[in-house]
């Protein structure tokens, strides 16, 4: 997962991208005939210094290789802190990424 975080005027702007097929039930039914082959990210979390700053439950309707932009209050964190992001998909596979706050 690619994570970019920038602190400016007390706001951390984050752009994160997860590399994932995000296949839907219908897509997989057409492709393999088995709806259960569908696989997509189901949950994503972001933490800085152990504090949860992001928590998303997701479905198959996010785009392929989904991009997330979001903002975090910057007053508790400083440049150089690391934003860690983790995702887990429907099959239980996990992915992670980190970005230093610039």
């Amino acid at each position: 997962m690619k994570v970019k975080a920038k602190l400016k005027n007390g706001v951390i702007k984050v752009k994160a991208m997860a590399k994932h097929e995000m296949s839907t039930f219908n897509m997989m039914e057409k492709k393999t005939g088995n709806r259960e082959d569908a696989n997509f990210i189901t949950h994503i979390t972001g933490t800085i210094n152990g504090e949860t700053v992001l928590d998303i439950s997701t479905s198959q309707f996010l785009s392929k290789n989904p991009i997330f932009k979001f903002e975090i209050k910057g007053d508790t964190f400083k440049k150089g802190d690391k934003l860690l992001m983790n995702w887990v998909d429907r099959k239980g596979k996990t992915g992670k990424g980190k970005g230093k706050i610039k």
């Binding site: 839907t24 219908n26 949860t52 439950s57 309707f61 975090i72």
Partner: protein, 150 residues
């Protein structure tokens, strides 16, 4: 026997220590599985919040009027309201829910994502206020090329 008690106490304490962290960030897929299986926005709202009454104010939503590629439709949404969760639904796909954010004390409620829509339809953003009310924004758009066919 004593040893067993010790274990029980330790495990109990561990469980207690672990619980707050998981409560703070709710995994809606685990706690509310019906939301993700719901076929209509109304059913998803009922499963998620227990009501379908929406107040259409206080939330802003930006999406294109016409999406040329249904596989990646940019959706921007934000609110200044005091909320505990914000979620995205649409009525163009087999299931309604797209994603749900748990708001943390560090959150600024300004998001941008890309979603898939199989055909033209309406996107609904629902912000769950700490006052117990549901605030929403809707946007109907045309999708030129459906995004769920791969």
């Amino acid at each position: 026997m004593e040893r067993r008690n010790f274990l029980n106490v330790t495990l109990g304490a561990l469980a207690l220590a672990v619980v707050p962290a998981s409560v703070k960030a709710e995994d809606y897929r685990a706690t509310k599985p019906a939301v993700w299986a719901a076929h209509t926005v109304d059913d998803a709202l009922k499963a998620m919040y227990g009501t379908t009454t929406l107040i259409e104010e206080g939330v802003s939503l930006t999406a294109p009027d016409v999406a040329s590629n249904g596989g990646a439709i940019p959706v921007d949404f934000s609110t200044d309201l005091d909320i505990k969760s914000i979620a995205v639904y649409q009525d163009a796909n087999p299931e309604a829910a797209v994603c749900a954010y748990t708001v943390t004390k560090y959150t600024i409620n300004k998001y941008s994502i890309k979603i898939k829509m199989a055909k033209s339809g309406t996107i609904t953003i629902v912000a769950e206020g700490n006052d117990g009310k549901l605030y929403a924004a809707k946007k109907t758009l045309d999708v030129a090329l459906g995004g769920c066919e791969g």
